[in-house]
């Protein structure tokens, strides 16, 4: 199977879908002549021309709204936010227009659109460029949220997203763009709401997505050295969420740790912990623990950034806590 980078996998997904359906177009800052701020759209302008790969002004609110308008008028836009930090300027368009279009029109209009871009901390980008916002979109009925971790998931979920009839928030990771992995050639459609079991183990269930999937895997390897076997589950999409996969695993391990890059208070893991205790209370032998980013704006200095982000060490510690092995 071909080895692709995460960035190439996304590029391939868009290229294949644009070739398949001429209603699909890509619009965003630097997506065309510059070939993408992170080179995700490399070569697409040359292949599809300026009406289908459109360089926008730096106007997130405006071009996100343009995408919604184009979607209700019959196109299938992919709107690229250079990062989700900047998309806060467009939050109104996603929440008040895209998410509600079908409902408030009484089903007359559909809004098939993908908003995609990078989120999360990279390397010392400081407070305004290091944020995780998946929960503020997953909160909104009408939206769907994907958080792929691997090149394969990046391609398979993006292709599914582009074909979906509902508005999709597709969150990528800047530090994963260069990561590599096996990706099927051609048709690869991964359904939303299907978790991947990354690793099987009978002692504790770790739920983690995107970058945190790799932190969790590293922690699982550390734990294995001490004879503790962890299951690592990557939900891959946060809305819909494959709760059954998590509950099934917790029924076997009786312990659960959730790892998320974002802030702790009102974060994604809070909902997940609630759902696990609600539906899996009798299976639990310990409270569900969460390992999260620290509750502060991201500082610049490298050691400070490291202190804020979840680490394998913190995940190991949490797993031992739920196993009462501290």
């Amino acid at each position: 199977m071909p080895i692709l980078s995460y960035r190439e996998a996304l590029n391939q997904a868009m290229r294949e879908e644009m070739a398949r359906d001429d209603r699909v177009f890509l619009l965003g800052e630097e997506v065309g002549q510059y070939n993408g701020a992170y080179k995700v759209s490399q070569g697409l302008l040359k292949e599809f021309g300026p009406w289908r790969v459109v360089d926008s002004p730096i106007a997130e609110l405006g071009f996100a709204g343009l995408g919604v308008g184009a979607a209700i008028a019959g196109l299938r836009p992919i709107i690229e936010f250079m990062t989700w930090n900047f998309a806060l300027l467009a939050y109104d368009q996603l929440v008040n227009n895209a998410a509600k279009m079908r409902s408030m029109s009484g089903g007359q209009l559909t809004c098939p659109i993908v908003f995609r871009g990078a989120q999360g901390a990279a390397h010392q980008l400081a407070s305004q460029h290091s944020q995780v916002f998946e929960n503020i979109y997953a909160y909104i009925p009408g939206l769907k949220v994907a958080v792929p971790a691997t090149p394969r998931d990046a391609k398979g979920l993006l292709k599914t997203a582009i074909r979906d009839e509902d508005p999709i928030v597709f969150m990528e990771s800047e530090v994963l763009y260069g990561s590599k992995g096996e990706v099927e050639e051609g048709e690869l459609l991964i359904p939303f709401g299907q978790a991947e079991v990354v690793r099987q183990g009978g002692d504790v269930t770790i739920v983690a997505w995107q970058k945190m999937r790799f932190v969790a895997t590293k922690a699982a390897e550390e734990l294995a050295k001490e004879g503790i076997e962890a299951t690592v589950i990557d939900p891959r999409t946060l809305r819909p969420f494959d709760l059954d996969a998590v509950l099934g695993s917790v029924a076997r391990t009786h312990r659960c740790v959730i790892v998320e890059e974002g802030w702790p208070w009102m974060g994604s893991g809070a909902q997940l912990a609630d759902s696990i205790q609600r539906h899996g209370f009798d299976d639990l032998d310990a409270p569900v623990l969460r390992v999260t980013g620290r509750d502060v704006p991201m500082p610049y200095a490298k050691p400070l950034e490291h202190t804020v982000l979840p680490t394998a060490e913190r995940v190991v510690e949490a797993c031992k806590n739920v196993l009462y092995r501290t």
Binding site: P57, F63, L66, N96, N97, Q108, F192, R239
Partner: protein, 351 residues
């Protein structure tokens, strides 16, 4: 939703710019404006009776803009994107008065089956792409509909409506810029009724001539008498001809108009004097049209007006009846039209 028929020109006023319309044409325009006036008066009445919930922003006084926009366009290929003072525009674009009123009543036979209400009148089959309740938030949508016209090599134009209070926010500026850069067929129409809720344009805007803001984007701006339906219609028709088809640039029209009622039914409008309102009413759009008729020696007599009143009165009565008698939506419909499928696992019926 009202029955999904494709909008046609057959019921529209014949348009011949620069040529004095015949009497039938003027009567038709009068009838269209009168329907909006009487419909809105009835809506205001039943609102005070508690039969309509939520916010209710009435269009009384601004009828010439709504009717001028519709009759200046070709609704077979053109589109409407609107703000929240939208009952009049929905009626203008041919939505059934029964369905518009029933939507205000929150009934299942409303335009959006009771999910939209006053601020979200959609009639997609008639190219009415909706009323939106966030000030300025609908403006970029119109740019997208215009983008789709160019992309699909269609020759439709999009009218985007907003109030004068929307022109100070980013959505307005970003939209005008993008549509000018990409030469999109969008007619931006500011319905300047002088008050953004209770704040006058003089208190909110450094430049109170909205049309002059067009120059910042190198597009044409024009001031239009928004109390004169013929002036409105002709200005919209000119703008449509200008931006229709490849290479046509967007146009910004400022329609000077006035709302007789408060911002919404909850607003007693204490920020303006009774004298000011009475002065404005002297240029009532219905009377302005009658003056046009007189000037053209096509005088519409009292008997004709009374006939029209009778006809319109019946239409409004019927709309009220259909709304009173219409069924409430079934509670189960809360789960439909959130996602394409009501069974989509993204929908959390139970946490």
């Amino acid at each position: 939703m009202a029955e999904a028929t494709t909008a046609t020109r057959s019921d529209a006023a014949p348009r011949a710019e620069g040529v004095a319309g015949g009497k039938q044409e003027l009567l038709d325009l009068y009838r269209r404006m009168l329907l909006v006036r009487r419909f809105e008066e009835a809506a205001g009445r039943v609102y005070t009776e508690g039969k309509i919930g939520g916010f209710c922003h009435l269009y009384i006084g601004q009828e010439a803009v709504g009717i001028g926009v519709y009759t200046g366009l070709d609704p077979r290929r053109d589109y409407l994107v609107n703000a929240y003072r939208d009952h009049g525009h929905a009626l203008a674009w041919g939505s059934s008065p029964d369905a518009v009123m029933a939507e205000l009543f929150g009934k299942a036979n409303g335009l959006a089956h009771g999910k939209g209400g006053s601020m979200h009148m959609f009639d997609a089959a008639r190219h009415n792409f909706g009323g939106y309740g966030i000030v300025g938030g609908q403006i970029p949508l119109a740019v997208g509909v215009g983008f789709a016209q160019r992309y699909q090599k269609k020759d439709g134009v999009v009218v985007c409506l907003f109030g004068e209070a929307a022109v100070n926010n980013g959505a307005f500026w970003e939209s005008l810029n993008m549509s000018a850069v990409w030469k999109l067929p969008v007619i931006f129409i500011c319905e300047n009724n002088r008050y953004g809720m209770g704040t006058s344009i003089e208190r909110s805007s450094a430049v109170t001539d909205v049309w002059r803001r067009a120059c910042a984007h190198d597009i044409r701006g024009e001031l239009v008498d928004g109390m004169d339906v013929l002036a409105m219609r002709d200005a919209v028709a000119r703008a449509a001809a200008e931006c229709r088809g490849e290479g046509g640039k967007p146009v910004l029209l400022e329609a000077r108009t006035y709302r007789y009622r408060g911002h919404s039914m909850a607003d007693p409008a204490t920020y303006r004097t009774r004298d000011e309102v009475e002065q404005q009413k002297k240029r009532d759009p219905l009377n302005v049209l009658l003056e046009h008729a007189r000037a053209r020696k096509l005088e519409i007599d009292q008997a004709e007006l009374e006939t029209l009143e009778g006809e319109i009165g019946k239409v409004v009565e019927q709309a009220l009846k259909a709304s009173e008698e219409g069924p409430n939506p079934d509670p189960s419909v809360i789960w439909t039209d959130v996602y394409a499928s009501p069974d989509d696992p993204a929908l959390h019926r139970d946490i």
